[in-house]
């Protein structure tokens, strides 16, 4: 067996290994990206619930805070922004720009809601309103769910990113259209946003 043969045999074996490896990596990437897409769906459900509640909340508040139009409109506007942010992010889960957009819109909504609740502090009647109390309670519990779903999503996104950057997959990821990391979704919870101004004093 001449040396050329041996080299050719070696190359052949290498090609075989590479093909098997590439198939494995492709399946691994598809599987993990579906993983974080499914995890995002959980956030999606909870955020939608939250956005559905907000118009009701504003409606109730209007009766007491009719003259505080600006604050109420800011909440609605921020909510609508967040809805479209969510739509964009749900269409492309993990996409950095879409996730950043959602994150920003959520932050703005959290801020607007924070101002609304701060304002409500001065209106004991509003605070004592049963519907308002129910909605506030629902909103809080939904926020806990969002935080929980967000953690699951971020963990799944991190698993994808780690796999994508690990040794053999990093060679193929770009080839198969997985050149980008999945973006983690970060936004401060409303509680944290509300507390933020206090730090200034």
């Amino acid at each position: 067996m001449g040396p050329v043969m041996i080299v050719l045999l070696g190359v052949g074996a290498l090609v075989l290994v590479l093909v098997v490896l590439a198939i494995a990596v492709y399946n691994g990437l598809v599987s993990r990206s579906t993983g974080y897409a499914n995890a995002f769906a959980q956030i999606d459900v909870q955020l939608k619930r939250r956005y559905d509640m907000i118009p009701n909340l504003v409606e109730v508040a209007k009766a007491y805070l009719g003259h505080e139009r600006g604050t109420l409109e800011a909440v609605i506007q921020a909510r609508n922004q967040a809805v479209s942010g969510l739509q964009a992010a749900a269409a492309k889960p993990g996409d950095a720009a879409a996730i950043a957009g959602l994150s920003g819109a959520e932050g703005a909504l959290g801020g607007a809601l924070g101002r609304l609740f701060a304002l409500a502090e001065a209106y004991p009647d509003l605070k004592a309103n049963t519907t308002m109390m129910q909605l506030t309670e629902e909103l809080t519990s939904t926020e806990n769910r969002i935080a929980f779903a967000r953690q699951a999503y971020n963990d799944a996104a991190m698993e994808f990113n780690q796999y994508r950057r690990s040794f053999p997959p990093v060679l193929f990821a770009g080839l198969f259209g997985y050149a980008q990391d999945a973006a983690a979704l970060q936004f401060a919870d409303r509680a944290a946003i509300q507390e933020a101004p206090k730090v200034k004093f």
Binding site: M1, G2, V4, M5, L8, L9, G12, A13, V15, L16, V20, A24, N27, V30, S31, R32, T34, G35, A37, N38, A39, A41, Q42, V45, T140, S141, N144, R145, F148, A149, Q151, A152, D155, A156
Partner: protein
């Protein structure tokens, strides 16, 4: 219709024969490949036949080297494929890009499917599996994937979700449950892995041919070398291809037997041949009904409910029997017509009132107050023949449960609180320690929710606990591994708070760990070390004694029950472990060894445990919980005891 037990026995017997045949084919391929590799070595001069004794050192070395090479090739390729396949049901669903249906979805079609899956799981005493949907597939098809009930998932196409009636959908889901419960998915994975290994032999052969053909070097020596490579490569390719062909045909034949088995089981589960028969007739009446678009489908073809491609290859390779044959087996009096346009699905059973969360059909009617005791355990233990005709009872059971508890169980976030609510200490002066422990690990909101749920649990009684635990297991699979670790830790801490682990606390943790550990940590089930029940004599004593002491405090009665159970196990008289020595620690120890038994050993022990529990004719919730925990821990679905007792 009632000969489904005989049909199942027949399918099991045929499967065994085929599997032996399959192993034989694999062995033959390895043997022939060894011969070819050795022959090539011989021609290249590495080995030599013209020595006084054939068994010279070099020859033996080369021969064993060739054998090793062939076997290694088949094994490595097979193992690689297997490691991919055994990553669990979720990995398979994700590879098919399936969307997970939220277990608390209120979409009418999704709710209907989820309800059917929940009912089937509760009726067969298995955890509720996560449900996936292939949104881009309009065809009617479904699949189950996973290594065992604890890591399985069920997937359906959008067409299945929309185009079948409730009974038909029930038939399809029952069919898939049969695949999960009878271990078909596992069997198929092994066959696929071996097939992949055989294919690798053909692939290497093809490569050698390629190398020989492309070789540019000239000279007498290399011409000879080329010839040898060409001949050897062709032979390997031929052996691999013929082997793969034969093995593929056998695998397809096995697969077809399992399909008949699952169809028969669907009739058995639903007690109505029109369910599965109807679904098959709808598929037959729709052009290209089973066809799937996704490119991944081909390699998973064996998993699906019906043949996935319509361009019928040779019948020999079909993983599913012909539709006509399948319909005729479940509906012997079938007139040969297909169902064209399926009637619009009736959703009365599944519509829920948005506010009360009650099903519509129940509004106005008295809610069913009585929660039947965990159904399957009862049926198995009392060896009632109609074990599976329980789906309607399962539905009544779910409807009889407190709505807030059911909806909590259907949501990963709330299900954690529900499990911890079940572990709330009975004495109110211990509440504080319980809240602090949970708040420290999972946060204060979980404590608040768990406290509310604990109140609802107190109103519901102990019968509600096991079905609720089953309902949580599917939704909890959506957590991330780190979230699961926190929950596991919280459960561990909460159950030890009062310094004493009672049988329910023990069972809850066991069931959770047995069913969720395998979803998050893909550890291979341990290899079997005990091949006979006699090697597990003391362990059997501990397990059976523990169960018996739950049922009766009377030592004399306990001794009688144990004697009867030992007879069933055929291990000689077991010794009754005194009540104060039958602790959960010893039970844990015993189970960790029983887990290392062969499936037959484990099954016989679980069967004996079921018999011990059912001997007095009644089953308390505590007995059912511990029996279920034992069965799940040693990976024996309770339904399989009944199925095997009959075959």
């Amino acid at each position: 219709m009632l000969d489904f037990f005989r049909q199942q026995q027949e399918a099991r017997r045929r499967t065994r024969q085929l599997v032996v045949l399959y192993l034989l084919a694999v062995a033959l391929v390895v043997l022939f490949a060894t011969g070819v590799v050795f022959g090539m070595m011989l021609l290249f001069g590495a080995a030599d036949l013209h020595t006084p004794s054939f068994l010279t050192r070099t020859n033996v070395l080369v021969l064993s080297g060739s054998a090793l090479f062939s076997a290694a090739l088949v094994c490595i390729a097979g193992l690689h494929r297997r490691s991919q396949l055994r990553a669990g049901g979720r990995a398979v669903a994700h590879e098919l890009s399936a969307r997970r249906i939220e277990p608390n979805s209120t979409d009418a079609d999704e709710r209907r499917l989820l309800n059917i899956v929940e009912e089937m799981a509760l009726a067969s005493a298995s955890p509720v599996p996560p449900v996936y949907v292939l949104d881009d597939e309009d065809a009617i098809n479904a699949f189950a994937a996973g290594y065992g009930p604890s890591d399985s998932i069920i997937g359906v196409t959008r067409g299945t979700l929309k185009r079948l009636t409730r009974p038909q959908l029930q038939g399809v889901i029952a069919h898939e449950f049969s695949h999960i419960l009878s271990g078909d998915v596992r069997l198929n994975m092994r066959l696929v892995a071996m097939l992949f290994g055989i294919n690798a032999v053909a692939l290497v052969g093809a490569m050698l041919i390629e190398v020989a053909a492309r070789s540019r070097s000239s000279g007498k020596d290399s011409a000879r070398g080329r010839l040898i490579l060409l001949a050897g490569g062709s032979l390997l390719w031929l052996i691999g291809s013929v082997g793969a062909l034969a093995a593929g045909m056998i695998k397809a034949a096995v697969s077809r037997q399992r399909e008949f088995l699952a169809d028969a089981a669907a009739v058995q589960f639903t007690r109505d041949p029109e369910t599965i028969g109807g679904a098959l007739r709808v598929i037959g009446g729709t052009i290209g009904a089973g066809r799937l678009e996704t490119s991944h489908a081909e390699e998973c073809s064996h998993m699906f409910f019906s043949e996935i491609s319509t361009d019928w290859m040779a019948r020999a390779f079909a993983t599913h029997p012909a539709l006509k044959e399948r319909v005729r087996r479940v509906l012997p009096a079938w007139d040969g017509t297909w169902l064209k346009a399926p009637p619009p699905p009736s959703r009365d059973l599944d519509r829920i009132h948005p506010i009360t969360g009650q099903r519509y059909f129940q509004l106005g009617a008295e809610p069913i107050a009585l929660v039947p005791p965990p159904i399957i355990a009862e049926r198995v233990a009392l060896s009632k023949p109609d074990v599976f005709a329980q789906i309607d009872k399962a539905r009544q059971m779910i409807d009889g449960l407190d709505r807030s508890l059911v909806w909590a169980a259907r949501d990963a976030h709330d299900a954690r609180a529900l499990l911890l609510a079940m572990l709330r200490p009975s004495r109110s002066d211990e509440y504080a320690a319980w809240s602090d422990a949970i708040a420290g690990i999972l946060g204060a909101p979980v404590v608040k929710q768990a406290t509310e749920l604990a109140a609802a649990l107190d109103r519901s009684g102990p019968e509600a606990r096991l079905p609720l635990i089953d309902l949580t297991l599917g939704p909890l699979a959506a957590m991330s591994p780190s979230q699961y670790q926190s929950l596991r830790q919280a459960v561990q801490v909460a159950m030890h708070l009062d310094g004493h682990v009672d049988s329910f606390e023990w069972a809850l943790r066991r069931i959770m760990v047995a069913n969720l550990d395998r979803r998050f940590d893909k550890a291979e089930p341990p290899r079997a070390r005990y091949y006979a029940t006699s090697g597990l004599f003391d362990e059997c004593s501990v397990v059976l004694s523990f169960l018996i002491w739950i049922g009766t405090p009377d030592p004399e009665k306990a001794a009688v029950v144990l004697t009867a159970a030992s007879k069933a196990l055929r291990v000689g008289p077991l010794s009754l472990v005194p009540q104060n020595e039958a602790t959960v620690e010893r039970l844990d120890d015993a189970l960790s060894r029983i887990e290392l038994g062969t499936p037959a050993v484990r099954r016989s022990i679980v069967a004996a445990a079921a018999r011990a529990v059912g001997r007095d004719g009644t089953i308390t919730p505590a007995e059912a919980e511990v029996l279920r925990a034992i069965a799940d821990s040693v990976r024996i679905p309770l339904t399989s005891i009944v199925a095997h007792a009959r075959s």
